[in-house]
């Protein structure tokens, strides 16, 4: 089946792989590439226009540079960096346990951690609101048990970080598990027999071999946090404005589609660049299929 594909375009089209790839590819061409091109086109339209038949202009990009949007880009990037670092520290021990330690329990742990992804993010974040609220679960417990109050927790930057760590934990964890299980135990034993210290084994054997999983986990989380909207709005109130929030209000309150599109293009370019770096270095067949 595989060897006969090179000769002509018609034969390439007859390959079952090509045929199987067609429906989803065509769908995403219409549903994903189309909208993206539309955003790109709108970003060059004059401010506040609602159609594409105007003379293209750079004014949206220029006004973005002059306004204080760099602040929301900064906050989004800062949040992404902080959350990825925290999640690596939180997830590494668990991932190690799931890959090497838990054996038959690993499936149960996987299920327990995967189930929350399937519950609406809004409901789970609302749970944190109830916990952190003035007279909420944490504040109320502390008051009735110790007489101390913890009322100023909600609508702060740490509350946003908590929400982001909470929501994106599985997205870091699962790729990490795949990464760590790609390290053969025999290799570590061999290194140990040859006199390597624990730290050396970690740095020279475990880290490089599990790198594809670590990179996918880190970059997936980074990109998702970069474009996150609900956490900062629900748990952060007015504490900070992240870039997705700016984009949303440009489209909705300000009714300025071209400005919102230009901001989207910048966010897409930033995330796209990071994902491109990832895909250049990772072989998906090896990571997902483990062959």
């Amino acid at each position: 089946m595989a060897g006969t594909t090179q000769n002509s375009k018609l034969q390439w089209l007859r390959n079952p792989g090509v045929l199987a790839a067609l429906p989803a590819s065509i769908f995403l061409l219409i549903g994903f590439a189309g909208p993206l091109l539309m955003v790109g086109a709108y970003s060059f339209m004059p401010s506040r226009s609602f159609s594409l038949n105007q003379i293209p202009t750079f004014e949206n990009y220029i006004s973005i540079i002059h306004d204080s949007y760099y602040l929301s880009f900064f906050w989004s990037l800062a949040m992404a960096v902080i959350v990825v670092i925290l999640l690596f520290i939180i997830c590494y021990p668990i991932a190690y346990g799931m890959a090497k330690l838990f054996n038959k329990w690993a499936n149960l742990v996987t299920a327990l951690i995967a189930v929350p992804i399937l519950i609406s993010e809004n409901i789970r974040l609302f749970g944190w609101v109830l916990i952190l609220l003035k007279n909420g679960i944490l504040d109320g417990s502390l008051q009735s048990l110790f007489g101390v109050s913890a009322s100023g927790l909600l609508f702060t930057v740490p509350a946003i970080i908590l929400g982001l760590v909470y929501v994106y934990l599985p997205f870091t964890l699962f790729p990490l598990v795949i990464g760590i299980s790609m390290v053969p135990d025999t290799l570590k034993e061999a290194a140990s027999d040859l006199g390597a210290t624990r730290w050396q084994i970690f740095r020279e054997v475990e880290l490089p071999l599990s790198m594809p999983g670590l990179m996918i986990g880190g970059i997936l989380t980074f990109v998702l946090v970069l474009g996150s909207l609900a956490e900062a709005k629900i748990l952060g109130g007015q504490a900070i404005v992240m870039i997705a929030d700016d984009i949303e209000s440009a489209f909705t309150f300000a009714q300025n589609w071209p400005k919102g599109s230009a901001l989207s293009v910048l966010l897409i370019a930033l995330s796209g660049f990071i994902v491109f770096l990832l895909f250049r270095r990772v072989d998906l067949d090896r990571v997902i299929g483990r062959r």
Partner: protein, 272 residues
């Protein structure tokens, strides 16, 4: 340093840590359920009095029924369409060898890495440009763009472990294309298809950022919850939150039972 005891200590730490993190994941959901039974208009802890009146109100409310129906219709359609698209997509991803596969693998996964709120807004522009009025139908389309790649990824994991020799053996024994598909390929890949369908349904059921911009005048439950959380809080927020939560839990339970039945049947067949 005594090596074995150090190892024991790390192992114990890892187990405790994992347990703590799992508790951390579930605490907010418990909080929502607790709040839904609280009698006060505004939540207060410790809860002074409990009631089920919010549930009675929710069950008798027509607008709640409409929200449920919209969310359910979207999720059901998204599941059916995405499973079909993704089944073929996963075969192309992991089963067949073809020129252009590496590029396909990367492009098809891009929507997963994409900020959903921006994707929703891009869809809004797209629908308005091609002159489609947004309603829950357009939300199905929007959900599919994000969910199909995820289902492809989930199914691909199963497809990678599929041995193509089984199909070839069936062909050699004179089976038709259709027979091979329904009697060899589909049954073997069914665990992947089921997990894909579960993810498709629940991710659509709980989705907020895509729905927000693409449902038009219709509203899903996550949208309603968000609107009420940000402005105009009512005690129905935890109630409806708990209801969708338990609906998702029930769905998972039923899926798990089906799963058990299938694997029991498979074991019986294997032992023949």
């Amino acid at each position: 340093m005594n090596r074995p005891s150090w190892k024991k200590l790390t192992e114990r730490f890892i187990i405790l840590w994992t347990g703590a993190v799992i508790v951390f994941l579930y605490v907010p959901m418990v909080a929502v359920v607790l709040a839904s039974f609280s009698k006060q208009r505004y939540f207060k802890f410790p809860v002074p009095a409990f009631t089920d009146k919010w549930y009675q109100k929710a069950f008798s409310s027509l607008s709640v029924r409409e929200l449920l129906w919209t969310s359910l219709s979207i999720a059901a359609l998204v599941t059916i369409i995405s499973v079909v698209l993704a089944f073929l997509g996963a075969l192309a991803f992991a089963r067949y060898d073809w020129k252009g596969r590496k590029l396909y693998q990367r492009l098809i996964l891009l929507p997963i890495f994409f900020p959903q709120a921006v994707l929703g807004l891009a869809m809004l522009l797209w629908f308005s440009a091609i002159g489609v009025t947004t309603s829950w139908h357009t939300a199905v389309f929007a959900h599919l763009v994000w969910i199909t790649p995820i289902v492809i990824l989930i199914m691909s994991i199963q497809v990678y472990s599929f041995d193509p020799a089984l199909e070839e053996a069936a062909y050699d024994l004179g089976a038709t294309r259709w027979q091979v598909l329904t009697q060899i390929t589909l049954p073997i890949l069914s665990p992947g298809i089921i997990s894909g369908a579960i993810f498709a349904f629940l991710l659509s059921w709980g989705n907020f950022p895509l729905s927000l911009f693409t449902t038009g005048a219709d509203q899903t439950i996550p949208e309603w919850l968000y609107a009420k959380m940000v402005s105009g809080y009512t005690p129905m927020v935890p109630t409806l939150g708990s209801l969708t939560l338990s609906a998702a839990a029930m769905f998972l339970l039923v899926a798990y039972i089906i799963w058990l039945a299938i694997s029991a049947r498979r074991r019986r067949l294997d032992s023949l």
